[in-house]
């Protein structure tokens, strides 16, 4: 089959990717602006990065955000993997329809509803708002994304390897840890990274469930942005974009290597 790119195809790709990347690029460029006015170029400077690291409140919020993201992504990875196993390996268990509903709904549900309902729940059970309520809220949302990522891997998975291990007398738990888990590991890592990023990024759900002493970075950035453009926010954004880009590139390289390795082993 010979597919050829027409001029129209190339043009739409060029414009599409320019549209996606130009705003981010401009944001990064203007973080090195000497002027306090974000949209007027006043020469190259890294002063906003210095100001950023001296901003105690922002650094503290970044630390809280990082801890919440690590903890909630870890919990979400375990819960999401279990849910994916339940959906792919347990056939029609009672209440399966409700279960799939609860897995798919939070992903598209407007965040204001999820945030509000969790907050009202935490108030009803008398849990103080803060670090833990945000962590629980993020775990609940992100485990659904982990479920879908791991589930799609389990669907394309060669069951005969598991069956062979069982036939040779390996108990189910051992089969899981020595056969299933290594094979689905890349999707679990991808699920973890997705959960981590979503948690780092969330403003709405965190705003509803934050309390005194637990302000996250997006909440701080949002309140700064509401007051107007700030070059410090550009600097903070650039650092976040840098971390994410590095993370995505290294994850891609890692998964490529593991694909190559498993291919080599297969032959």
């Amino acid at each position: 089959m010979n597919r050829r790119l027409s001029v129209f195809n190339v043009t739409s790709l060029v414009f599409g990717f320019a549209f996606l990347y130009l705003p981010i690029l401009l944001l990064v460029i203007y973080s090195f602006n000497a002027s306090r006015l974000v949209t007027v170029w006043g020469g190259f400077s890294t002063q906003w990065y210095g100001a950023l690291f001296r901003n105690q409140a922002l650094m503290e919020a970044a630390w809280v955000t990082l801890r919440i993201a690590l903890l909630s992504a870890t919990l979400a990875t375990v819960l999401g993997t279990l849910a994916a196993l339940a959906l792919t390996r347990y056939g029609r268990f009672p209440g399966r329809t409700l279960f799939t509903g609860m897995v798919y709904a939070p992903m598209v549900m407007p965040e204001v509803i999820t945030g509000l309902s969790l907050l009202l729940f935490f108030v009803a059970v008398d849990l103080d708002r803060g670090f833990w309520t945000i962590t629980l809220a993020h775990t609940t949302l992100t485990m659904c994304f982990v479920t879908v990522v791991v589930q799609s891997r389990l669907m394309t998975f060669d069951r005969s390897l598991e069956e062979a291990a069982m036939d040779l007398g390996a108990p189910p738990l051992r089969t899981f840890f020595s056969v299933t888990l290594p094979l689905i590991a890349p999707s679990i890592v991808a699920g973890f990274l997705l959960a981590f990023t979503l948690s780092m990024d969330d403003l709405v759900i965190a705003s509803f469930n934050a309390g005194p002493g637990a302000t996250t970075l997006p909440i701080r950035i949002y309140s700064a942005v509401r007051l107007g453009l700030s070059p410090e926010v550009n600097a903070a954004s650039t650092i976040l974009i840098g971390i994410v880009t590095l993370g995505v590139i290294s994850a891609t390289l890692l998964s490529k290597r593991s694909v190559l390795r498993s291919r080599r082993n297969a032959h």
Binding site: L5, G16, A83, A86, M102, A105, M155, T197, V204
Partner: protein
């Protein structure tokens, strides 16, 4: 031996039970609470609603519930207008997303195979960077003295700066920008699998490219069109950040209304009633989306 198989079955039962229980407690129960509180009256005390749940007093508890908040929603046409404008903005944005996303997905599907993985990664990469930051980036671009106006005036295309920020146009730009990966990826997934010989056959039989696009490509891409549209429409209806940062005070949207009832007016029961209203609007699209998604994941080879 008996005992061992019992523990084994218990361990096997825990696999669905643990996530089931987690979602039940932290997803389903909170919804029921929202429903309950939307039926209660606001109180000045903390937490700002009543009645506070007491086990011994069920009769009084249910006696206190009423539809007052929902009556308020129908009386004040602010909520009606906010609902209409949310649905309208989300629908127009979804149409624009299809218009912008389809050519990109089509171009990706026709690109040489060795580049496709890279193109998919390039579509996903912006999604990994903060949503808030990507919307913030547009503020600097769309401001009256912003980068877009500087560029257009510098090129001599316009004499006066365009007023884009704090209008509905800015909201459309923001939604299309932020949701583009959610539209492109499902479209790409269906277009990539498409059999080109069908198009060739149609052209050989004398069909025009335009006609074969509408009679072959579009129907075959329909699962992707539906999935992508729902994936964009549903969260767009309840969007808060984009209308708040780009839309200015004029743009009415229901998610924003909920936010201000909660954070500015501290009327939790009314905010809950708005949440129920939003959910009622979205329940049909969400159920369709769940079925489409569950089917898509399960029929995969």
């Amino acid at each position: 031996m008996m005992e061992r198989s019992f523990t084994r079955r218990l361990a096997a039962g825990l696999v669905p039970a643990v996530p089931y229980l987690w979602l039940g407690v932290l997803f389903l129960v909170p919804f029921l609470i929202v429903l309950k509180i939307s039926l209660s009256d606001p109180a000045v005390s903390q937490p700002p609603y009543k009645p506070v749940f007491e086990w011994g007093d069920m009769a009084a508890f249910f006696g206190d519930l009423d539809l007052e908040n929902f009556a308020l929603l129908t009386e004040d046409d602010l909520y009606f207008r906010a609902t209409l404008s949310s649905v309208r903005i989300a629908a127009i944005s979804t149409a624009l997303l299809l218009l912008v996303g389809f050519p990109i997905a089509y171009g990706m599907a026709r690109a040489p195979e060795r580049y496709r993985g890279l193109l998919v990664a390039a579509i996903i990469l912006p999604f990994w960077t903060s949503f808030l930051i990507r919307i913030y980036a547009w503020v600097a671009i769309l401001k009256p003295e912003g980068l877009l106006n500087q560029a257009l005036m510098g090129a001599g295309l316009i004499a006066e700066p365009l007023d884009i920020l704090n209008t509905e146009t800015a909201v459309y730009i923001g939604i299309v920008y932020a949701y583009l990966p959610f539209m492109v990826l499902p479209l790409y997934a269906t277009l990539e699998k498409m059999d080109d010989t069908l198009l060739e056959a149609a052209l050989d039989l004398g069909s025009t490219p335009w006609r074969s696009f509408w009679t072959i490509t579009v129907p075959l891409a329909m699962p992707g069109i539906i999935a992508g549209s729902l994936l964009c429409f549903i969260p767009a209806v309840g969007e808060f950040v984009i209308p708040d940062l780009l839309g200015g005070s004029e743009t009415l949207m229901i998610g924003r209304q909920l936010w201000s009832e909660f954070f500015s007016n501290r009327d939790w029961p009314l905010a809950s009633a708005v949440a129920i209203l939003l959910l009622v609007i979205l329940v049909v699209p969400i159920v369709i989306y769940r079925d489409v998604e569950a089917r898509r994941v399960e029929v995969r080879p």
